[in-house]
């Protein structure tokens, strides 16, 4: 450890730490564009210049390592002047299209201008004309006029994905970022380019012009799309400027978790935005009378009555459950209590999304977040035997992934003879038709809970978005059922 002083505050930092990072340890934010904690310092934006006592010139906070006894000043008039000058250069050729720029509101250029600039523009020359809409692949658009050449994108593709689709061409003021003869950015991590662009130069067609950054509510959660358990941030709008009661997820961005995903997430996880918004069940549906309003409490009470009607010793043979590994540890624990321990069921199965190809980086083959949690809860997840299901009288199906493993025809045939079948599913699908009652279930982003990732790491998370009215997490369903069955709910075991 090295001791130094930054703006008079004593700081202790590990040897090799940059002044910029050391300053963050004591809450001092040094402005920067090109620096990114995941990369080596590049030093091209020149925004993080600070005064180091004893050195004749201003030094870069991003690339200067802390030294014992060092004294650093980050806000002297000299430093502020340098920031103003660097900002003025960056803004000189920058377009004034903030009103239509997706980045507005979360743009470093804007933020720093407000903090250090607020000068009148002195650039009266003709700006360089550049292509403002270069499609660089995977729905990403590059605006070369907005680009400040921090090269974060280029470095990301060279150092993180190793795919290297972007480069810097030409030189001087004509220097620009581009692909090689239109060979597009094509990897499963392209969305991170938007996240790391400090200005509005790289935007995503999926988000472009859809909303303004300041309307977004940003909440962290754990990505449920595979078993990696990456930290993500769900960015949504509820109500204004949407209509009253409306909610929309505008994007999912990478969260930071050094132990799991660093600062990156895959495009597959990012596309999970649709999983939250699209094809959702929002009310209980009774197949016999689909138009009829039915509260989930009433529906569950009816189910509890049916279960109670089956004599205890017959339950293992007559009742079956299909769970899934998107359920949280808390939900699994309760499911274990209700179905295995209290009702004594043996026919407990799992139907998960089919494994996909892993990408060797973050995305795993398992397309569920909590397979380890299921095992830890005491389950031995296995696919249902359709014949075993067909022989039951009451069937609970949590999730809609059964059809990934069996044909629709086989499933409907197996389920045809079952008198009571209840589907608890977030999304609409063909399985709905086979169920007597369909309950609207929350997606992971609407839940709080715990997942155990592929490496056995337990990660708890809170709700990133409120579920639509009438939509409930499995935890509540199970708790209600437990009550209805006269079982003590107890405290869900940690699995």
């Amino acid at each position: 450890m090295v001791g130094l002083k930054i703006d008079g505050l004593p700081v202790r930092a590990a040897e090799g730490t940059s002044v910029l990072k050391a300053a963050e340890l004591v809450g001092i934010a040094i402005p920067h564009f090109c620096y990114h904690p995941a990369f080596e310092a590049e030093g091209n934006c020149r925004m993080c210049l600070v005064e180091v006592e004893g050195l004749p010139k201003l030094e870069l906070a991003c690339s200067t390592a802390v030294k014992e006894g060092m004294t650093v000043w980050t806000s002297t008039p000299c430093v502020i002047q340098a920031r103003r000058d660097v900002l003025e250069f960056l803004l000189a050729e920058h377009p004034l299209d903030c009103p239509i720029c997706d980045k507005a509101g979360e743009c470093k250029l804007q933020d720093y201008y407000e903090r250090y600039g607020l000068f009148a523009g002195r650039f009266v020359e003709a700006k360089e004309k550049r292509n403002k809409k270069v499609a660089i692949g995977k729905g990403l658009l590059l605006d070369r006029e907005r680009c400040i050449l921090c090269t974060r994108c280029v470095r990301f593709l060279r150092k993180v994905t190793g795919t290297g689709e972007l480069g810097v061409f030409e030189r001087g003021v004509r220097a620009e970022i581009g692909t090689y003869d239109g060979v597009p950015v094509d990897n499963n991590y392209s969305g991170n380019l938007v996240d790391i662009c400090p200005v509005g130069a790289i935007t995503d067609a999926d988000f472009r012009f859809k909303t303004r950054a300041w309307f977004l509510k940003k909440r962290p959660t754990v990505c449920p799309r595979c078993s990696r358990g990456c930290a993500v941030v769900v960015e949504s709008v509820s109500g204004y400027p949407l209509g009253e009661g409306q909610r929309r997820i505008f994007r999912i961005k990478a969260g930071e978790n050094p132990a799991v995903n660093g600062s990156w997430i895959c495009d597959f996880g990012r596309a999970g935005r649709r999983d939250i918004d699209e094809n959702r069940h929002v009310r209980v549906i009774r197949s016999a009378a689909p138009e009829e309003e039915l509260s989930w409490q009433k529906g569950l009470a009816a189910i509890a009555a049916r279960v109670r009607a089956v004599p205890g010793p017959e339950r293992p043979g007559k009742i079956a459950v299909v769970l899934n590994s998107r359920m949280t540890c808390e939900e699994m624990a309760l499911a274990k209590r209700v179905f295995a321990e209290s009702l004594g069921l043996g026919k407990i199965f799992f139907a998960d999304p089919k494994p996909g190809a892993g990408d060797g980086f973050l995305l795993t083959e398992e397309r569920v977040p909590n397979a380890r949690g299921a095992v830890q809860a005491g389950f031995s997840p296995r696919l249902p035997d359709l014949a075993a299901l067909a022989a039951t009288e009451i069937l609970f199906i949590f999730g809609s992934h059964l059809l990934e493993h069996f044909s629709e025809e086989a499933v409907s045939r197996a389920l045809a003879g079952i008198p009571s079948k209840f589907l608890f599913s977030a999304h609409t699908g063909p399985l709905d038709r086979s169920a007597e009652l369909v309950f609207p279930i929350a997606v992971p982003a609407e839940k709080s809970g715990t997942y155990v990732n592929v490496d056995g790491l337990r990660q708890s998370f809170g709700r990133a978005v409120e579920p639509p009215p009438g939509v409930v997490p499995e935890l509540e369903v199970l708790a209600y059922l437990a009550n209805g069955l006269g079982l003590s709910r107890g405290v869900p075991d940690a699995c």
Partner: protein
């Protein structure tokens, strides 16, 4: 891949790569050989070099667009590079450039319609005591006058 350099160029390139501890370092010398042969470096040649040196074509493009002496488009058989930096400007470089423009009918960056001569203006050629100076295909000419330039161009045009 449709592009392959001549056998002679290929041999030269093999030799050029040897002294570098990393193959990719031979990029500039290899591009030089290819350009000497074809007058420019085509996208096909870029791809060929990239494969040869084990780098992505985009890295070749980055380099090609950085250095002013490397070309991505065909140019004239002969290149006249006229210095326009200070010592030469003080010695009348602008007049020489103007004269060449008139004589060749093309401005800096242009190639005569017959494809013989490309005119370029360049920064300091490091021949300042010989100002105004220029290079014809890399050969230095110093203390040039309009008469000398006229003779030079005449010779180039007469040459098959």
């Amino acid at each position: 891949m449709s592009y392959t350099p001549s056998a002679a160029a290929l041999k030269k390139i093999q030799g050029l790569i040897v002294p570098y501890p990393e193959r990719s370092a031979a990029l500039l010398p290899v591009l030089r050989v290819l350009q000497e042969e074809s007058g420019f470096v085509s996208p096909e040649a870029e791809a060929w070099v990239a494969a040869k040196l084990g780098i992505q074509p985009i890295r070749v493009r980055e380099v090609l667009t950085f250095y002013t002496m490397l070309r991505r488009k065909p140019a004239g058989k002969t290149t006249i590079r006229v210095c326009r930096n200070l010592s030469c400007t003080l010695a009348g470089a602008e007049d020489i450039i103007g004269f060449l423009r008139e004589k060749l009918g093309v401005g800096p960056g242009g190639t005569t319609p017959d494809g013989r001569i490309t005119l370029e203006t360049v920064e300091c050629l490091g021949n300042c005591d010989q100002a105004p100076c220029l290079q014809v295909d890399g050969i230095d000419y110093g203390r040039v006058t309009k008469d000398m330039v006229a003779a030079l161009v005449g010779e180039l045009e007469a040459h098959e």
